[in-house]
């Protein structure tokens, strides 16, 4: 695995409180990684430390194989959407993005072109010359997100990129980010696990300044090893169901939720074949409401962070 960002034993203290407590993480290059954690878990501190805004107390950061962030080394190759950071209110979007592009090393023409294209992409082409002061919170947020993608940096950190966007703009932003998959390394911090599940191919659970778990989303949600049947009630004959499944897997019924979970291995039996075997037997005993492949990220997160 080629690593874009490697963090080892990172510690950052605010007074006596350890916001990052020996956090270790390896973000693969060209991955879209989600950072999930409760409020105060250390996600924002982690991003700010990687960006060089905060000085860590100890630990190592290796950004794109060139050590910790250094503007002279990483300038133009790295960008971030920081949380709770206002854009300069007297500036105008086009001129501000052009200025940012210029600082990233783009020529005036390229910077202007990229800035205009970015404003079109975030649906703010008609407000290119309005003072930022006059834009709504959501519009400003789109500019904040858009500035990250100027000049195609290699690694982008997005702290709550969809917060404050209306549903239409959130969808547009989601597809904007999704288009960059496999082209840039993107790290997204969000409380919205559905967004993480849709956008990311890797996910890290962060709690109390540590990485609890880091894995590809597919492994985390076990799409290829779990089938969940939502039933109307308890099946009359569990033994029959187990016999139907045989050696191919293991069944687990939760009487509180009426969920029948089937653990299996995709290599030994595909999900479609398993369903063909199980569904008639289930229907002979009770009603079947839905079938879900794998667990949701939310379920996994709750399970791992109790």
């Amino acid at each position: 695995m080629i690593t874009a960002l490697e963090i080892s034993n990172l510690v950052k203290c605010y007074g006596k409180r350890r916001a990052l407590d020996g956090l270790t993480l390896r973000i693969p290059r060209y991955s879209v990684t989600g950072l999930v954690g409760s409020n105060g878990a250390g996600k924002t501190t982690l991003m700010m430390t990687v960006a060089g805004f905060l000085t860590p107390n100890s630990g190592q950061i290796n950004l794109l194989g060139n050590g910790p962030f250094d503007a002279d080394v990483h300038g133009g190759r790295f960008s971030i959407l920081p949380q709770d950071s206002e854009l300069p209110l007297t500036s105008r979007p086009l001129e501000l993005l052009t200025h940012y592009g210029r600082l990233q090393g783009l020529s005036l023409q390229d910077a202007q072109k990229s800035a205009s294209a970015m404003l079109e992409a975030i649906n703010l082409g008609d407000r290119a010359n309005s003072p930022i002061r006059s834009l709504s919170h959501g519009m400003r947020k789109r500019i904040m997100a858009g500035q990250c993608f100027l000049g195609n940096p290699e690694i982008i950190l997005l702290d709550e990129p969809l917060n404050g966007l209306d549903p239409r703009e959130a969808t547009r932003m989601r597809s904007f980010i999704a288009k960059r998959r496999n082209e840039q390394t993107i790290v997204i911090s969000s409380h919205n696990l559905n967004d993480i599940e849709q956008l990311c191919d890797h996910v890290a659970f962060i709690e109390k300044g540590k990485t609890l778990r880091f894995a590809p989303v597919e492994n985390m949600t076990r799409k290829a090893s779990i089938l969940v049947y939502q039933l109307t009630g308890m099946p009359a004959d569990m033994l029959l169901l187990e016999q139907t499944l045989g050696e191919k897997g293991k069944l687990d019924f939760n009487p509180e939720t009426n969920r029948l979970t089937c653990h299996y291995a995709e290599q030994s039996i595909p999900a479609t074949e398993l369903n063909q075997r199980m569904i008639p037997v289930i229907l002979s005993q009770c009603g079947l409401i839905s079938i879900t492949q794998g667990s949701t990220l939310e379920e996994e997160y709750l399970k791992h962070t109790v």
Binding site: M48, A71, G75, Y100
Partner: protein, 301 residues
């Protein structure tokens, strides 16, 4: 991209952005109005003094202020008075015979400069740190380039302020004095404007250096005003006790750390003291800024 290009880009943007900021514009207008007002008031005062002098010395009264002042420079008793006022023989020798208009302009430019610097420069850095706007820059360029860009932006804005105020002050002088404010003194006033601009550099360094310690624009302005009051007190103490003995012998060394110690060098005409003064003042400006930057370099944004 070299750090110099980053500094240049930051300077250009800072200049552009500062000009657009209402606060900077208000400060510029205030400075301009103050220059105009002070010039107008000074000419009126000069006219009054001349009338009184004319009646005491039994000279024919003139309609134009400045006409008698020019004659007065040649009188020995008047020279003695001016020598006492300037407290510096060399400065007196250099300024004697100069047109009162340019001397008034020089005085007002130097006098109001520190206040103008506080009004214009104190809030630029803390505003961006407080709002978080600095974070959009901090991963694109180094903190050093950002701070230097802001510094040069403010320094160039002050250059604009002295040029505009100089032109306005001359316009008032021309209106009030007619041929006693000849066009030729515009060049001399420009030279005084350049000196006042150099004099502003240590103050910009000091005010911006201090502003690197806070994220609050209002706190930074208060720090700036307190620093000016502190400087005035230190200057007063060092001037008063300079000739003393004992602990007073360290005072000249302490005074050397502050801009007021070099101000009079900028009032001289010969290049040697002028260049020396300019070098010391610019060095002081960068030193003050450097001290602030030393703290800022490692601080959390």
């Amino acid at each position: 991209m070299t750090p110099f290009i980053h500094v240049w880009r930051m300077t250009c943007y800072e200049w552009f952005d500062a000009l657009r900021s209402r606060r900077a514009l208000v400060a510029l207008l205030l400075y301009m109005a103050t220059s105009v007002g002070t010039m107008y008031w000074s000419i009126s005062l000069l006219q009054k003094v001349e009338k009184e002098l004319a009646s005491i010395l039994l000279l024919p009264a003139s309609e134009h202020p400045g006409a008698i002042a020019t004659t007065l420079w040649k009188s020995k008793p008047f020279q003695g008075i001016m020598r006492q006022v300037s407290k510096n023989n060399e400065v007196f020798n250099d300024i004697q015979g100069k047109n009162p208009v340019e001397l008034i302009y020089a005085w007002l430019s130097f006098f109001y400069m520190p206040l103008l610097v506080v009004l214009i420069a104190a809030n630029r850095i803390p505003e961006e740190m407080g709002s978080g706007a600095v974070r959009y820059i901090a991963f694109r360029t180094s903190r050093g380039a950002w701070v230097l860009g802001k510094f040069f932006g403010q320094v160039s804005l002050i250059a604009l302020a002295v040029i505009i105020s100089g032109l306005c002050a001359y316009a008032v002088a021309r209106f009030r004095l007619g041929r006693y404010a000849p066009v030729e003194i515009v060049w001399n006033m420009a030279f005084w404007a350049a000196r006042a601009w150099i004099y502003s550099i240590p103050f910009v360094g000091l005010i911006m250096g201090l502003s690197l310690f806070t994220k609050s624009a209002s706190k930074s302005t208060i720090f700036g005003i307190l620093a000016l009051v502190g400087l005035a007190i230190i200057t007063g103490v060092t001037t008063f006790f300079r000739a003393g003995t004992g602990w007073c012998v360290v005072l000249p060394y302490i005074a050397a750390l502050f801009p007021s110690d070099y101000e009079m060098l900028l009032w001289r005409s010969s290049p040697q003291p002028l260049i020396t003064g300019a070098i010391f003042l610019v060095t002081l400006g960068f030193t003050y800024l450097g001290v602030g930057y030393f703290f800022f370099k490692k601080r959390d944004l």
